[in-house]
Subunit: 495 residues, 2 copies
Amino acid sequence: MFKIRYVAIDTSPENTVFLPRSDDGYGAEQFQALRKVEVAQGGKAILATLAIMDDEHLLRHGEIGLGEQAFRRLGLPEGAEVVVAQARPPASLDAVRRKISGDTLTDTELAEIIADITKYRYSPMEIGAFLVACAAFMTTAETLGLTRAMADVGEKLTWPSPLIVDKHCIGGIPGNRTSMIVVPIVAAHGLIIPKTSSRAITSPSGTADTMEVLANVDISAERMKAIVAQENAVLAWGGRVNLSPADDILISVERPLRIDTFEQMVASILSKKLAAGATHLVIDIPVGPTAKVRSQAEAVRLRKLFEYVATHLGLTVDIVLTDGSQPIGRGIGPVLEARDVMQVLSGDPAAPTDLRERAIFLAGRVLDFDPALPGGQGQQRAAQLLDSGQAYAAMQRLIAAQGKQPASFAPGPLQHEILARQTGTITAIDCHLIARIARLAGAPMQKGAGIDLLRKAGDPVRSGEALYRIHATSETGLGFARELAEESSGYRVSA
Amino acid sequence: MFKIRYVAIDTSPENTVFLPRSDDGYGAEQFQALRKVEVAQGGKAILATLAIMDDEHLLRHGEIGLGEQAFRRLGLPEGAEVVVAQARPPASLDAVRRKISGDTLTDTELAEIIADITKYRYSPMEIGAFLVACAAFMTTAETLGLTRAMADVGEKLTWPSPLIVDKHCIGGIPGNRTSMIVVPIVAAHGLIIPKTSSRAITSPSGTADTMEVLANVDISAERMKAIVAQENAVLAWGGRVNLSPADDILISVERPLRIDTFEQMVASILSKKLAAGATHLVIDIPVGPTAKVRSQAEAVRLRKLFEYVATHLGLTVDIVLTDGSQPIGRGIGPVLEARDVMQVLSGDPAAPTDLRERAIFLAGRVLDFDPALPGGQGQQRAAQLLDSGQAYAAMQRLIAAQGKQPASFAPGPLQHEILARQTGTITAIDCHLIARIARLAGAPMQKGAGIDLLRKAGDPVRSGEALYRIHATSETGLGFARELAEESSGYRVSA
């Protein structure tokens, strides 16, 4: 029996517990050899990684320290008595091992794996093993089983309408913030589009990060229903409502391992959308040399996989392939992207044309789900709603309904311009590298950090003229971003 | 710039650094999003996982805390100023990603991966990804490349003789402590057998753990040479001399993931033996329903893989398949195994026959490497050296040369007998389960903990009679072992 003590150490995403090293009896090293321990009282139990603490001021004999994640997830007060035991490995790990050896898994096995992962019974290493085994080979039936299993754990949103539309981009293109234009257009038309978005994980901004520059995005499921009833739409952070929590855990391991197979992408996106209650979904797949999908052939394979899984889950999808050869718009990072979005919505002549056109195209495809609209008129209707200011008005009502952001953000005051080193025409911009530079500058956590693109592919440039401007709010961020950008700007200029 | 502060937390095997959470500038969360950071000063640098510390008493603003592993590996004093930067992922991870997608890797790529792993540039999750990708598919050429790469990093022992023999068992059979009998037999004959062994990782005892009951096993390379020059042999802990350090790191990830492919086993064993300077090696593959190798067909595949890789690395091997249907000897755990070994060597009539016979068989195969011995006479010679007491004398000289263990160990005083629940004949003993019970009792860290088998397969037993006795030195250990043994004894008794 050990007494709980809170230890103010954050080892996100893992549970960590701390035991004092002891030189008698069953020592801490022995527990550590078990690597994972179970800490339990009555019906409450967590699995955790063990660290050994040698500082007697922090932990006394007979105490067990719980790091922030472990303390929160166990949910017992300090001083509570718990039992520490070897963690029996979850039974579903046997299925993972068979998958590693090349077996295909049944729906039941996949559901058990996902259930155990969601209960934090897998270590990140074990999750990594599952993902790598899936990355090596996964059938379409397995992808379907995985998607369904992921959608089935966690919360599900339901809406009082048979037609719930949504729009999702697979990502990878910096500045491509079309959702914040598509949603008000669709809402102004009268379709219901309750859009939940993620915060950025490895990109410089997610829709939730950018929307937060303008409005509150941390909205409960109940409050979301009220807003949607009034405005036909919401632009909220999905993390608040615990949709497909397995997806968040898998992503936390996929990203550092840079596992980005189509199967994982399909399961991730469709499980989230199913849980969010969508019935009709437009999926945007940008194709380009530095995008996530690099050839038309790959894009077609991905499109078919989306269609197969969606159809079997009762979801109507329209998959569109778009130009992913360079960033969209000018701003990259929350504040700079929000500026672009509001320029497009307000009809500002300075608005970036490519962002406007992409948003109209995608909104048109969503509107084409409306049975009341004559076939093929979606785009025309979208442009009309944007040009008439109706979409802008819808966005302003939405901001007011969600709660206007009380803080006022500006582009980061620390700036550095990256200059062309030769005269000629810009022939390519590396999406991946530009995203990484913006991220190092501090985006999305520093809202004002990011990149403002001053020139795009196709533009002429003279040696010494600025290609883009890095914005940051800390010298560390500016230094990191500048170092990488000076090493490689991400722009190709040909004479 | 941060100032180093030592934090008394052991997160073996990982490097962990701690940053205070800060609400201004480039925050700790932002570093954490990078997941791995590089801590550097001048030419010294380590990669580490980041945890965030919220306790201001432990870490002040401007300080970075280094856990035990990180502090030791960086090797700078407290207060030294270091730079913290995002860790660029090691370049060899690209090869790992290609391996995940199904590529085969070249010798150069495998060497780069192993070099980066040995420099602690991979996280356990990344090592797991590499291992799982290899477990899915690995060519014999890749296995060879991996073995060579692993043998080439770390120290290599060299010996002033062209014939250096060794003996290795792939493990999995509790109590199978033949090395401690084979080595003195071979040394008494006059061949050179410098045996380095591991401590147990998931088994209840390694040869080093059991030998340590009798003698010092923590011996430098220089001292080993002196002992071998005098005694023809040594029975030392290999960890001291840093042979194939990549193997130790890979094993620390393979074990919790229970990855045990033949390819990894071959690379692990042969890289260690090559680094230890062996030229002629007997490998014992026990085959049985609860052993590591479960069928004759599997054993033959493993034998051929050993032969292929060994031959290409210039190592002469003799692979023998043995009966792995139940534990060997009676004692399981360091003290109990050392008792069995000394009974066999001293010709005690109570000595377990199966251990004696297995040791004579294996020693005979090793002696058959001696060109001076007529073909096929190895076993006869081994039995003679054992029965005449020459092997026992060699063992006593070896103990004296290595340094007699000053402490005196006894079987754990806390005992519990597991009883038969029906009358009949014992038809099977589960090696895996028995090992796990002995381990839970506290072996190998508590030398006296383990299991004493009172009956073996083939023996008759009456309901209520004892099958085996659990020994422990702590109530916790006895409790854990007893709980599992009462749930499932590991014995099958048929009427």
